[in-house]
């Protein structure tokens, strides 16, 4: 990614920490609001960030989300220490899930996580292997407007 980010912050995501899951995404949303992004961009980032965060909590064995605010886009780089995704094409299909019964009872495991991320991003790279876990690079294009508030 050429150029210097206007703002960067890394959030640590803990394994199986359902109590605090989603907090990083709420913080990311608040940061983007303060910067003055328009709400359609913020909403897309929020969806992608939440889904990626939940994947790290539930399947990734913990990891981190790095937010970079650039002049014309928002980047989320999400890394986990998990077992990797054996078949990315299958994981991208809506409805496919490896969630446990316990996760499903909580309303997770709809098999919509990666599809939701894809739908809300302009560019999505998935780098995954059994040895090094999974890395998502999510790019959402934008401009800082500071005018719209709803």
């Amino acid at each position: 990614m050429p150029g210097k980010a206007l703002f960067q912050k890394t959030f640590t995501i803990k394994k199986d920490d359902f109590a605090n899951a989603g907090e990083a995404s709420v913080q990311i949303k608040n940061i983007l609001k303060d910067v003055g992004f328009d709400s359609s961009v913020i909403r897309r980032v929020a969806v992608a960030s939440y889904e990626a965060e939940m994947n790290v909590v539930m399947y990734g064995g913990g990891g981190n989300v790095r937010l970079a605010v650039n002049p014309d886009n928002v980047m989320l780089v999400v890394e986990d220490k998990g077992p990797g995704i054996p078949d990315v094409d299958q994981a991208m299909q809506e409805g496919f899930s490896t969630a446990t019964d316990e996760m499903r009872e909580m309303g997770f495991g709809a098999g919509m996580g990666l599809p939701n991320i894809k739908r809300n991003s302009d560019d999505l790279k998935i780098i995954t292997s059994p040895d090094s876990g999974t890395r998502l690079e999510i790019c959402i294009r934008s401009s800082v407007s500071g005018t719209e508030e709803n």
Binding site: G22, V26, Y50, N116, R119
Partner: protein
């Protein structure tokens, strides 16, 4: 219609986030799948669900929902109440099931959006 008026009409009990009851409700959405709500709900909607754990508050906050209605008399978790108070997200509860809750909202003129 304001959430406080809906709460009065349906006899909903306010469990948390009373500071948000002034919110204007633009529509409703029924789902117990969090990814469905994150993907398809829109800002200002009232979310009807049987999920009671604390992650529902993160979802409602991220989507800027007007509030959450817990159905079937289920008891919302203490953690969810605490988070909802902090975020100002109203959580309301009813003895009614989802079908009837949605139906009564529709009768009040609250559509899908």
């Amino acid at each position: 219609m304001k959430l406080s008026d809906i709460a009065a009409e349906l006899g909903l009990k306010v469990e948390a986030g009373a500071q948000g009851l002034d919110a204007e409700v633009t529509g409703g959405y029924v789902s117990d799948l969090l990814s469905d709500v994150i993907g398809n709900c829109t800002a200002g909607q009232l979310w009807i669900t049987l999920q009671v754990h604390d992650n529902i508050v993160a979802v409602a906050t991220l989507k800027e929902l007007a509030g959450i209605v817990i159905i079937n008399g289920k008891q919302v978790s203490a953690n969810a109440v605490e988070k909802a108070e902090a975020e100002g997200i109203p959580i309301l509860s009813t003895q009614l099931p989802a079908y009837e809750t949605a139906g009564r909202l529709y009768q009040l003129g609250i559509g899908a959006d």
